[in-house]
C-alpha cells in the first residue's frame, strides 16, 4: 500500500476540503433516498449526489493530479461531461416511468395526475 504523495500545503488543503465536502454531500443524498416518505420526494435525494457530490470529488481529483503533474487530466473531464449530460436524462426517464405506472395503477394517494389529458380522469 503506497502512501499518498506529498503535495504542497496550498494544494493539499483545498483537495482535503473538497473531498470531505463531496463525501458529506454524497452521504446526505443517500440518506434522503433512504428516509424520505414518498417516491416523488425521494427522487430529489440522488440529484444532489450526482451533481454536487460528484462535482466536488471530480474537482478534488482534477486539482490533485494537476498539482502532482503525473499525467494529463482527461478522464475527469470526460466523466464530468458524461455525468452532467446523463443525470437529467436518467432522472426524467425514471420519473416518467413512475408517473405512467402510478396513473395506470390508479394510485391517487401519491398525488399523481395527468392534468386531465385522459378522458377517464376528466370524467371523475
Amino acid at each position: 500500500m503506497n502512501a499518498v504523495e506529498n503535495i504542497p500545503v496550498w494544494a493539499a488543503v483545498p483537495v482535503a476540503v473538497l473531498v470531505i465536502l463531496g463525501g458529506s454531500i454524497i452521504l446526505i443524498g443517500a440518506l434522503g433516498l433512504m428516509r424520505l416518505p414518498s417516491f416523488y420526494q425521494r427522487i430529489h435525494g440522488p440529484a444532489i449526489t450526482v451533481t454536487l457530490g460528484a462535482g466536488c470529488i471530480l474537482m478534488a481529483s482534477i486539482l490533485y493530479f494537476s498539482v502532482l503533474q503525473s499525467r494529463v487530466v482527461v478522464h475527469e473531464l470526460i466523466i464530468t461531461a458524461f455525468v452532467f449530460m446523463t443525470a437529467p436524462v436518467v432522472s426524467m426517464m425514471i420519473m416518467r416511468a413512475a408517473v405512467y405506472r402510478d396513473l395506470r395503477a390508479g394510485k391517487k394517494d401519491t398525488g399523481v395526475s395527468s392534468g386531465g389529458v385522459y378522458r377517464s380522469e376528466t370524467r371523475e
Binding site: 499518498v4 443517500a30 478534488a60
Partner: protein, 92 residues
C-alpha cells in the same frame, strides 16, 4: 500535510460506503419497482464515486478507466430499466 489528505480520503471512503449501504437498504425495502430502479441508479453512481476516491488514494489510472466504464454501464442499464417499467418493452 499528506496526513490531512489521507484522513479526508478515508472519511470520504467511509461516507461513500455508508451511502451505498443506504441505497442497498432502499433497494431491498423499496415498495415499488421504480423505487428500486432509482436506488439501483444511485448505487451505480456511488460505485463510480468510490472508484474515483480509490483513484485519488492510490494514484492509479486503472480506477479512472473503471469509473468511466461504470458510468457508461449505469446510464445504459438505468435507461433500459426505466423504459421497460414504462412500456413493458425496451426497444419499441
Amino acid at each position: 500535510m499528506a496526513s490531512i489528505l489521507e484522513m479526508s480520503i478515508i472519511y470520504a471512503f467511509v461516507c461513500v460506503l455508508l451511502a451505498m449501504l443506504f441505497c442497498t437498504v432502499r433497494l431491498v425495502i423499496g415498495p415499488s419497482a421504480h423505487d428500486r430502479a432509482l436506488a439501483l441508479d444511485t448505487l451505480w453512481m456511488c460505485a463510480m464515486l468510490l472508484a474515483l476516491v480509490l483513484g485519488i488514494r492510490f494514484r492509479s489510472e486503472v480506477y479512472f478507466e473503471a469509473a468511466v466504464l461504470i458510468a457508461l454501464l449505469g446510464f445504459v442499464s438505468t435507461i433500459a430499466i426505466a423504459k421497460f417499467l414504462m412500456r413493458g418493452e425496451v426497444i419499441e
